[in-house]
Symmetry: C2
Subunit: 138 residues, 2 copies
């Protein structure tokens, strides 16, 4: 097993993946992001650290990191994916319909129920997507 560092790309180096300026910049953006940025946002932010980063590289890097399990892709509204680092515990999302803000939450009980339902239907869950869309209680 490869030893784990705080840098997903460094972890991948042993697998023939090269550490480039662009990848480090993109990763930096993801680490700093408090929101769930779109590819375009990531490009803009990454260019602040390394102006040479191109759109294509952002997409390629995100795809690579997603496949490696280091990045999660979310399709909240249907107009462009939004990404986040997969370095914390699993969680689902609550999207504020008025502000677009994304609140994260986790419910072991819901996950448990999901597994039970799937089992009843004869399935094992590989992954799931749970998104709540709502408005602040007045």
């Amino acid at each position: 097993m490869t030893q784990s560092t705080d840098d997903p790309i460094t972890d991948l180096r042993s697998e023939g993946v090269r550490v480039t300026r662009q990848r480090l910049a993109i990763l930096h953006v993801l680490r700093e992001a408090a929101d769930h940025p779109r590819a375009e946002d990531i490009l803009t932010r990454a260019r602040q650290q390394d102006p040479s980063v191109s759109q294509a590289t952002v997409y390629r890097t995100l795809a690579m990191l997603e496949k490696a399990g280091s990045v999660l892709r979310n399709e909240f509204d249907g107009s462009g994916a939004r990404f986040e680092l997969a370095d914390r515990h699993h969680h689902d999302h609550l999207i504020d319909l008025d502000t677009g803000a994304v609140v994260e939450f986790h419910s072991p009980r819901i996950e448990q129920l999901q597994a039970e339902i799937a089992a009843e239907l004869g399935y094992d869950i590989a992954w799931h997507r749970l998104e709540l869309y709502g408005r602040k209680t007045t």
Copy 2:
């Protein structure tokens, strides 16, 4: 209140919406569909009843029906939306990763938990999306 018929478009007539051959054909397709067809599938099937239906009209009609609440749009995999008539009770989806089959299910307990979680976070849920992706238990 307008009286409700079994035909979403007929319901809309009073709102200035016109009942056209194309719309009836698309609606017919949705009523007969046992699966969750994509726009392209709907076009193909609608043309069997009315060859004049165009792609643009399929999209426009689906958008109209969605806005009216008669049709639900699903974005299961990210490569094209899949539609269904919103005439039955609410349900969520379990997608078979091997066959692409979509199984519908409903869990009042999960919905209850979702509402509780949202409430704790200070939100009222307007709608939600729960999709389970899995494989048949071996």
